[in-house]
């Protein structure tokens, strides 16, 4: 490790570079204190090129300066964790010699500006994070949030994002197995676009992104470097304003899924050949971050020659080359002497590979232009020395007041609640998302056991009996109203979803989408949410193996709901025993696991009927949730269930309806009677936690109830599955819902097409 204060007299400003002024430093998103730190590290003023490099590496996106200290509080270890945070993706052992790499990542800012390319390149980036670990991507999920669909601008964003995700994943040939789509005015200006990818490999195929071995060549592989996306990482770490649309469009990259597919095949072949030491996506901050991070992890240095980088256009400066975020590029550290082997593999896939530098042992990140040094920075301070902040966190008074809102008047309605129920089923949040996932190939690679639309997507691991389940979850309203509880619920719901299909919740990746952390009330949300997540992950034994932080999701000072999306994976030991969410046979008993309450805070009912986001989110008992997960696993292993479906947004009534409808091919009637001493609105629509609706053949009913009891999970039969095209009826003491199931199907499946399948026009 070289002395951080060594002066390197060779580095001089390039002719034509702008002068380093306080304004220029500020434009690069660096504070005066951070600039002083850079001067101290270098022992001199940085050149323009170096300023750009620091700006990218010390952005929130790459440097995690506002989140690092809190993230240390998350549990990251378990016996089955092979790779925790800090690599391209986390990796867990899923048995029978297989390892699963998985990660989630955001592309919120680019998608707000250019929805199609923004979302598409989000998928591209997360795929590369997975295959650079040596794993073949086997599934993607997408977690999306938009404003209300009555805005034409929101419809334009929604349509573009879904097309972008679909076109990219479909072309590369990775099935989409699930996710979520949420609509709420809280996301009006800032859509959330998070993409998660799962990859499978044999344990021994794991490779990490390190640059080691002095003299080993660094090779740029894949697409050429252009001027697109320069400073994307810094852009992602700023708030948006009304002008962001036009001004920021050049910072959005353009995706090429065809090249990605070739890159995927070539990378896996490269890794298998043994001709390379490490490989990393040139993602955020491009060559800069990939080269310096690989050097940082390898405890070595790198030297790059800018004139050797294959470029798309003439006259690019080192600054531009270093910070370009052109897509579908990788940095490969080859073994010295095996460069030709690397080239041959890439040529087969019609890709380029050029040596652009080498690994050194002096711990420096050195950049040359025709042999003349233009940047010379100690690598470790660059990657690890980013100042970190623990900021002041204070809860907003307005939100506290909202939480304390008296909701009792909303529990008054009684009698025939069928119209309200149908209104709920047609709400874009509760309605079927078929319009979305029918645009995604979900069956390519012929491993998909549970497609989108269920509690969790499931793929089998070919050649074994096993399967992997995955889901993404977060109810931002809950987190907004009470961050700690909301984050716990996000983890609990994800675990419930995974357990419903019969998989053991194993680990999570998280995507922490928040506003500007420099504001005390936002930092409060962030801190509380991380603490809640940590608690839940500890109780469920689902460590965090990595993820992504996306701050500054604000438009004109208005932050999104704090949205820590949980991407959870679980393992099925016998994938043949998978449990699905829809009712299967008329005459089956319907059993409720868990307890009904009258907690209406943050519910979809309030949003739909009163346009409100208020009250306290439902309480969550982590130990009870854990017991529920175990009971579900026990029941699925014993093969006594016909179906299992998590009860979440929209409450019990909507859960029952979704189980009745399935994918709409053979909707079944439902006859349910609830004798709880609770208002009918609460019974139907409260979003009380810790509940799952299961169905089973009558001969298994006693067994199911006994198994629930064994785990201390409240369970009772609440009704019976009816005939195809029958009646959906829920009877309570003071109210009821009753209508043909076909009528619900019409509302539920028709809602999004009715809104979206009209000629869409882009605003402004």
């Amino acid at each position: 490790m070289s002395d951080a204060t060594t002066t390197n007299p060779e580095v001089r400003p390039r002719p034509g570079d702008p002068e380093i002024t306080p304004e220029l430093v500020a434009e690069h998103g660096l504070s005066p204190e951070e600039y002083e730190r850079i001067v101290k590290i270098l022992g001199r003023a940085p050149t323009f090129t170096e300023l750009g490099v620091f700006s990218a590496m010390w952005s929130e996106h790459c440097g995690y300066k506002n989140s690092k200290r809190m993230l240390r509080l998350l549990p990251t270890d378990a016996p089955w964790v092979i790779q925790g945070p800090g690599e391209n993706a986390g990796v867990i052992d899923v048995g029978e010699g297989y390892a699963l790499a998985f990660k989630i990542e955001s592309h919120n800012h680019p998608s707000a500006v250019e929805p199609y390319q923004g979302a598409a390149t989000g998928v591209g980036g997360i795929l590369r994070d997975i295959f650079t670990m040596g794993a073949r991507p086997v599934a993607v999920l997408d977690s999306l949030r938009f404003g209300d669909l009555d805005s034409p601008r929101v419809r334009y964003l929604f349509d573009g994002v879904v097309k972008g995700i679909g076109d990219y994943g479909n072309c590369v040939g990775i099935p989409n197995i699930g996710g979520e789509t949420v609509f709420d005015r809280g996301y009006e200006g800032n859509p959330i676009v998070n993409a998660m990818c799962l990859g499978l490999m044999k344990r021994e195929e794991l490779i990490t992104a390190t640059a080691s071995g002095e003299g080993n060549p660094l090779m740029a592989v894949g697409a050429r470097t252009g001027r697109d996306g320069i400073h994307g990482a810094t852009f992602a770490s700023e708030e948006l304003s009304e002008d962001s649309d036009e001004a920021s469009r050049p910072q959005v990259q353009v995706g090429d899924p065809f090249t990605e597919k070739l890159l995927l095949e070539a990378s896996l072949e490269l890794i298998a050949s043994g001709a390379i030491v490490g490989i990393q996506d040139m993602g955020a901050a491009g060559i800069t971050s990939s080269a310096s991070e690989m050097a940082g992890r390898g405890g070595s240095g790198v030297e790059l020659e800018m004139s050797a980088v294959p470029v798309r256009e003439e006259g690019m400066t080192p600054y531009e080359i270093l910070l370009s975020e052109s897509q579908e590029r990788m940095l490969v550290v080859a073994k010295r002497g095996r460069e030709d082997e690397v080239r041959r593999i890439l040529e087969k896939w019609e890709l380029e590979a050029e040596v652009i530098g080498r690994v050194t042992s002096d711990g420096r990140f050195r950049v040359l232009e025709h042999g003349v040094p233009v940047a010379d920075i100690p690598a470790l301070p660059l990657t690890e020395g980013c100042p970190t902040y623990e900021r002041e966190g204070v809860e907003s008074k307005e939100i506290r007041a909202l939480r304390e809102t008296d909701l009792s008047e909303h529990l008054i309605p009684r009698g025939d609640l069928t119209p309200t129920f149908l209104l709920m089923m047609g709400s874009p949040n509760l309605a079927s998302k078929r319009w979305v996932y029918h645009q995604y190939d979900s069956t390519v690679r012929t491993n998909t056991v549970v497609r989108p639309g269920g509690d969790a997507g499931v793929i089998r691991i070919r050649g074994t009996k096993r399967g992997v389940a995955a889901t993404t979850d977060c109810n931002g309203r809950y987190v907004y109203l009470e961050p700690r509880t909301g984050a716990m619920i996000a983890v609990a719901e994800a675990a419930r979803n995974v357990a419903c299909v019969g998989a053991l919740p194993s680990a999570i990746t998280n995507n922490l989408n928040f506003g500007n952390p420099e504001k005390p009330h936002i930092y409060y949300q962030f801190r509380e949410a991380v603490l809640g997540m940590a608690d839940a992950c500890r109780v469920f034994e689902t460590p965090v193996t990595g993820g992504n932080v996306s701050f500054y999701n604000e438009t004109d000072g208005q932050a999104i709901y704090p949205t820590p999306v949980i991407g959870m994976v679980g393992v099925l030991e016998d994938v043949e025993k998978v449990v699905r969410h829809h009712f299967r046979s008329p005459g089956d008993a319907i059993v409720l696991l868990g307890t009904n309450t009258d907690e209406m805070g943050g519910s979809e009912y309030l949003y739909v009927t009163a346009g409100m986001v208020a009250g306290a989110p439902p309480r969550v008992d982590l130990l009870a949730e854990r017991a529920l997960q175990q009971a579900l696993l026990d029941m699925s292993a014993a093969e006594v269930l016909s179906s299992a479906h998590d009860c979440s947004q929209g409450g019990l009534a909507c859960t029952l309806a979704e189980s009745a409808l399935g994918e709409g091919e053979r909707p079944l009637g439902v006859e349910v009677e609830l004798d709880d001493d609770l208002p009918p609105v609460a019974l139907l629509f409260a979003e009380s936690q810790g509940r799952v609706v299961v169905s089973c053949p009558l001969e298994h009913l006693d067994d199911v109830l006994a198994r629930a009891q064994r785990y201390g999970v409240p369970a009772r039969r609440i009704g019976t599955v009816g005939e195809p095209e029958g009646t959906f009826r829920v009877t309570m003491r003071d109210g009821s819902v009753s209508c043909p199931v076909a009528q619900i199907a019409e509302v539920f499946f028709g809602a999004l097409p009715r809104i979206m399948d009209v000629p869409a026009t882009a605003e402004g």
């Binding site: 076109d167 479909n170 072309c171 090429d256 065809f258 090249t259 996932y437 029918h438 056991v449 399948d757």
Partner: protein, 234 residues
């Protein structure tokens, strides 16, 4: 049964096809698009995907790949050729099948299960089905809307070249059952000689109960049985 699975840059259903052939006891082999011969193979399959990104037009660049001359020669000699999804598009672009596949009427990618009715059982790929049998098979495409000029369409129906048609669960040809706007609900058709089949739905994705349906299995078993009863074509 030695089956060539042709792989173009951008093919992404090649592996699925390989596994489906293997499942019924066939011997699949990947053949890279730069190969120029298909000697020794009993059948040739063109998988789905996005050859060359479908950037110019689906299948338009793949058709000029070196291997396509060998595929045409193989077909001319009567060898069974199956093109699925992008493979169907390539066969049309290469002139081995009439017509073209244009953008879905919905202008959206359509990924879901559809029902197909078997219209012909006298092809190498459908002998194990019953005439009129209803199959459930996934589709996943953005350009599967079959069309041709009026003369050709007349000939297609006149000569009974349609092998699969989109229908509802009861086997009725309806507009709702048509996922992409194809003329006369055409999901798959053969050439006049009956040895080249193109279809948009993915039979290779419907060969295992665990994954939802076994409706596509017959395509592969039929081929196996048909080849067992005839001399190798290659």
């Amino acid at each position: 049964m030695r089956v060539a699975v042709i792989t173009f840059p951008g093919s992404n259903c090649d592996y699925d096809l390989y596994k489906a052939v293997q499942l019924v006891g066939g011997r699949p082999e990947f053949v890279w698009h730069r190969e120029r011969t298909l000697d020794g193979f009993d059948a040739v399959m063109l998988p789905g995907g996005f050859s060359y990104g479908d950037y110019l037009r689906a299948g338009a660049i793949a058709r000029i790949s070196p291997v396509m001359e060998a595929v045409a020669e193989f077909a001319r000699r009567g060898g069974p050729v199956l093109g699925i999804c992008n493979g169907f598009q390539i066969l049309c672009e290469a002139g081995l099948l009439p017509g073209a596949l244009v953008r879905n009427a919905s202008l959206k990618f359509e990924s879901r299960d559809v029902h197909l009715r078997v219209e012909r059982t006298d092809t190498p790929f459908t002998g194990d089905y019953a005439a009129g049998q209803i199959l459930r098979i996934p589709i996943a495409h953005g350009e599967g809307n079959y069309e041709a000029d009026p003369e050709t369409l007349k000939r297609i129906e006149g000569e009974g070249l349609v092998v699969f048609r989109y229908v509802d669960a009861e086997g009725r040809v309806t507009e709702v059952a048509n996922p992409n706007g194809s003329w006369h609900n055409i999901a798959g058709l053969v050439n006049e000689a009956g040895n080249v089949l193109g279809m948009m739905p993915h039979p290779e994705r419907a060969v295992e109960r665990l994954l939802g349906s076994t409706g596509g299995l017959g395509v592969f078993t039929s081929l196996l049985h048909s080849l067992a009863g005839s001399a190798p074509a290659g």
